[in-house]
């Protein structure tokens, strides 16, 4: 135990040292201290903690991370790795906003993007609430660690009734030099009533070294707004990526989230949604593709607090080599949330004898008039489909690859923005091509 504590403290230090918020108001200092305290109490999670049963961060504790240096701005955006969409770009390098490459001005009417330190200084309500909300760090050690040492980020505000056609694109770049770095981006998104917008996040890496990105994003979607939220996690293969997204939805909101995860050595994508209104359509979906030495975790929590809302969740994964996938999904239906309609599904294909998948789909229901179901499947490709393709003269090898691609691409149907679906489709195809090369090399 003493050893773990020392590691925890080292991490805390690495993050705190990064904090660039000189002269921030007192409440901010208090929030930071609360984050540090919560993290110290909880410690770095291991699989003894139920919420981290399948994903231990023990390995993280043994690495010594440094705070990123300030001159990372020369880093090129690795265009091959990010989602290929022509969006309104915001660039973060090692958790800090690169203002020179970020669209902070001349934005479409109704859209405002403010660097986080400024938003804190201006005492922005949404930011203040996000940083002071105990619920956002309670029992969540990594979110608390983020609060303890925020490295940077932005506030995105979409005004009431505004329709922003162009996707907003946050590109978060991690760079690994001689020493692994640790950083904690914090972004706050506020979507006003009846507004519409799309946010795409690309988390990518430059270089071969290790780094640790521990991000937290707050999304508040006001009544009757529509918000599409997509994420590409394509970090460097030796990086650690832990991301928490807190979503709160008002009345009649449409929120849909899709995460494509293929990068990092260990990644956890956690989305906690509170459906605090009626007639909400809430969707969290994703695809995960793990290869050698990769561990990809998708954890979701959906809380139905009011009646008549619908939640949908479909994740699909492929695990190759000794890749490991984890899916944990929980739907909580509170007593007042009658007529809730919840559905949750995780499907996984193991492509190798060394791969592993662990799923834990969970329902916790306190209202009696609800329709909730969940499912999980682990399995092989459909024999009938395979045979059908072979009967048409396609080799077993090609037939398998075709079916795997079809299986993954099918999930993209859930994405509501065509450009994003295309960009993610390209990534899936590229991943499969890489896999085919590996197979060829092995045979």
């Amino acid at each position: 135990m003493p050893n773990d504590m020392a590691n925890d403290n080292a991490l805390l230090k690495a993050f705190s040292a990064a904090a660039p918020f000189d002269g921030a108001p007192d409440w901010f200092g208090a929030a930071t201290a609360a984050g540090a305290e919560t993290f110290e109490t909880l410690g770095l999670p291991t699989n003894r903690t139920e919420a981290w049963k399948y994903t231990s961060l023990r390995g993280l504790g043994s690495l010594s991370f440094a705070a990123p240096s300030a001159d990372a701005k020369a880093v090129e955006i690795p265009r091959d790795s990010v989602a290929e969409i022509q969006g309104i770009e915001i660039v973060l390098v090692n958790g800090r906003l690169d203002e020179s490459r970020s669209a902070l001005e001349n934005l479409p009417v109704g859209l405002a993007i403010t660097p986080l330190p400024q938003a804190i200084e201006f005492e922005n309500g949404a930011v203040k609430h996000a940083l002071q909300d105990e619920g956002a760090i309670d029992g969540l050690p990594l979110a608390a660690l983020n609060t303890a040492g925020i490295s940077g980020g932005v506030l995105i505000e979409v005004a009431k009734n505004a329709v922003i056609a162009k996707p907003i694109h946050i590109i978060s770049i991690g760079t690994a030099g001689d020493e692994p770095v640790a950083f904690a981006p914090r972004n706050v998104v506020w979507v006003g009533a009846n507004a519409q917008a799309t946010l795409v996040e690309s988390h990518v890496g430059v270089g071969e070294g290790s780094y640790f990105s521990n991000s937290v994003t707050h999304v508040t979607v006001e009544d009757e707004a529509v918000f599409h939220h997509y994420k590409l996690q394509n970090e460097a293969r030796s990086a650690y990526h832990v991301a928490m997204t807190h979503v709160t939805c008002g009345e009649k909101v449409i929120y849909d989230n899709f995460a494509l995860s293929c990068g990092a050595k260990l990644a956890r994508n956690e989305i906690r949604g509170k459906l605090d209104g009626s007639e909400i359509l809430y969707a969290v979906n994703g695809v995960y593709m793990a290869a050698a030495n990769q561990h990809l975790d998708n954890t979701t929590f959906i809380e139905h607090a009011k009646p008549n809302s619908q939640s949908r969740e479909i994740y699909k994964g492929v695990l190759d080599e000794n890749g490991r996938g984890v899916f944990q999904g929980k739907i909580l239906v509170q007593r007042p949330a009658q007529k809730t309609d919840g559905y949750q599904m995780n499907r996984a294909l193991l492509l190798s004898r060394k791969a592993e998948i662990d799923s834990k789909p969970e329902l916790e229901i306190y209202a009696d008039d609800v329709k909730c179901s969940h499912g999980a499947t682990v399995g092989e490709l459909d024999d009938d489909q395979l045979f059908y393709l072979k009967a048409r003269g396609i080799s077993e090898h090609d037939a398998r690859n075709m079916l795997i691609e079809a299986y993954l691409r099918d999930a993209l149907e859930e994405i509501r923005v065509d450009k994003v679906a295309e960009a993610f489709g390209t990534k899936i195809t590229a991943w499969l091509a890489e896999r085919a090369l590996r197979e060829d090399a092995a045979s």
Partner: protein, 485 residues
């Protein structure tokens, strides 16, 4: 058809029945001193005239137990158990060793008659069920032993087995649930007082259903029974277990361990109808049912099937499991768990696929009413060598009223690419439409609920042996009384 028809008759009597097993038998008991200590364990072992190796095993478990902490991961809340306030041994006082049933205290025989379990063989229905009756800590009678012996089947209390078949007990006791397994199982290893022992020799199909009837009578006693069933190559046995306890205001602990071993091509079917006293409407009293049940499919093509209907107990914490070691072995778990008023149940199964082409099926039906919480918790684990493993899981929850909770927590872990695992879960309620439809056909509200819930549980109920199905269906109605309207 016959079973369902009979059920309806039984269901009709529901109106008049509450927990009818809540009486106390006035019988003199012999007890160990209250509390848990090495002395108490030595006392139990001495009382049972156990060999030295048995005592040593108990003490080893006790030493280990002292290092353990009570688990808290289940979704149940209860007043902590004060282990020092329990009698670990309570036995009806007998003057000397019994030679036949005629010498059993008539008060005891009357108790079992009241429970509907006749111990006099001539009264038992055409000899289809042999019964081992466990009263508080000890086995009071085992019927039909002679007839079973003709087939080479051993059916006796575990105490007798320790003395008379030490080689079998030594070989298998703790081989499925080791003494260090978990808090309550380890406690059981140290202090178990009695239970049933079954041995089915190679190639024998046990000619009758074997049954144990557990009864907690004395106050402040814990019941720690231990059951061991061994089915040798190519054999078959169907085993039934029933439980009741008197109505008392304080909680009583029941921490049993059941171990099943199925060798090549053997099959064990284990059915439970659990009706321990659930406590009153406010949650006062009732049994804590913390049980470890596990079966090992050791041989190829062996099969273990658990069927349980859980209606009683204040708190239930049990996960009958199958370790599928043999190639082509099969594990099944069929469960109905009903919680009403303040009852809590956290129950499910573990299916561990080790051998090739192993198959498991899990059908769980949870019904929650009143202010009760009902959780399904299950693990399906496929190890790398389990080529071609298959699992199908279906968990359905039914909520009656808006003060209760239904939860599903499956863990699905696979490490073999050729394995196929399917898990489905649904939650629903009894709809107003269904209730109105039944009422329009003349059914009272309670009959309607009973018939709808029995329909919901049908896939599990059909797995129960006939003798138990009727009782179980009746119980479902009783336990849901007052849950609607």
């Amino acid at each position: 058809m016959a079973a369902t028809v009979e059920t309806i008759e039984q269901v009709e009597q529901l109106g008049t029945e509450k927990y009818k097993y809540g009486f106390v038998t006035d019988i003199e008991s012999e007890m160990a001193p209250k509390g848990l200590s090495e002395e108490v364990i030595r006392f139990i072992s001495a009382k049972k005239e156990e060999p030295e190796w048995m005592l040593e095993w108990r003490l080893k478990a006790y030493e280990h137990f002292k290092t353990m902490e009570e688990p808290d991961w289940a979704k149940v809340e209860y007043t902590p158990i004060d282990l020092s306030d329990i009698y670990y041994y309570a036995a009806p006082k007998v003057k000397e060793k019994l030679n036949s049933l005629d010498e059993v205290d008539p008060e005891l025989l009357r108790t079992y008659e009241k429970l509907g379990i006749p111990l006099k063989e001539q009264e038992i229905l055409a000899g289809v069920v042999a019964v081992d009756a466990v009263f508080d800590s000890v086995s009071v009678a085992t019927t039909y032993r002679k007839k079973l012996a003709e087939y080479g089947v051993i059916f006796c209390s575990i105490s007798e087995a320790i003395k008379e078949h030490p080689e079998l007990v030594k070989k298998y006791l703790g081989s499925v649930v080791p003494y260090s397994d978990n808090y309550f199982a380890t406690l059981n290893c140290a202090v178990f007082t009695d239970g049933s022992f079954v041995y089915i020799p190679k190639g024998v199909r046990c000619p009758m259903e074997l049954s144990t009837y557990f009864r907690i009578n004395a106050e402040n006693t814990g019941q720690f029974e231990r059951t061991l069933i061994i089915a040798e190559e190519g054999s078959y046995v169907s085993y039934l277990e029933g439980c009741t306890a008197p109505q008392r205001d304080e909680n009583q602990l029941h921490a049993a361990v059941v171990e099943l071993v199925a060798m090549k091509e053997a099959e064990i079917k284990y059915s439970t109808v659990q009706n321990w006293y659930p406590g009153d409407e406010t949650g006062a009293g009732g049994i804590y049912n913390f049980v470890t049940k596990r079966g090992a499919c050791r041989g190829d093509s062996s099969k273990i099937s658990w069927t349980q209907v859980e209606t009683g107990s204040a708190v239930t914490w049990k996960y009958p499991s199958c370790i599928l070691q043999g190639d082509n072995s099969v594990g099944e778990f069929y469960s109905v768990a009903i919680t009403n008023n303040a009852q809590q149940a956290d129950t499910g199964t573990k299916m561990v696929h080790i051998g090739k082409n192993t198959k498991s099926t899990i059908i769980s039906k949870g019904i929650s009413a009143g202010k009760a919480d009902n959780t399904y918790r299950g693990l399906v684990k496929v190890l790398p060598g389990a080529e071609g493993a298959r699992n199908y899981t279906q968990c359905d929850s039914l909520l009656i009223g808006d003060q209760c909770g239904a939860h599903t927590v499956p863990y699905i872990e696979s490490r073999n690419p050729s394995a196929r695992i399917e898990h489905e879960a649904t939650t629903s309620k009894i709809s107003e439409d269904q209730l109105f439809y039944c009422a329009q056909r003349g059914l009272s509200e309670e009959d309607s609920v009973s018939i709808i819930v029995n329909g919901f549980c049908k896939e599990v109920m059909k797995e129960l042996p006939m003798e138990f199905a009727v009782e179980a269906q009746k119980l479902i109605g009783i336990s849901l009384e007052g849950s609607v309207g």
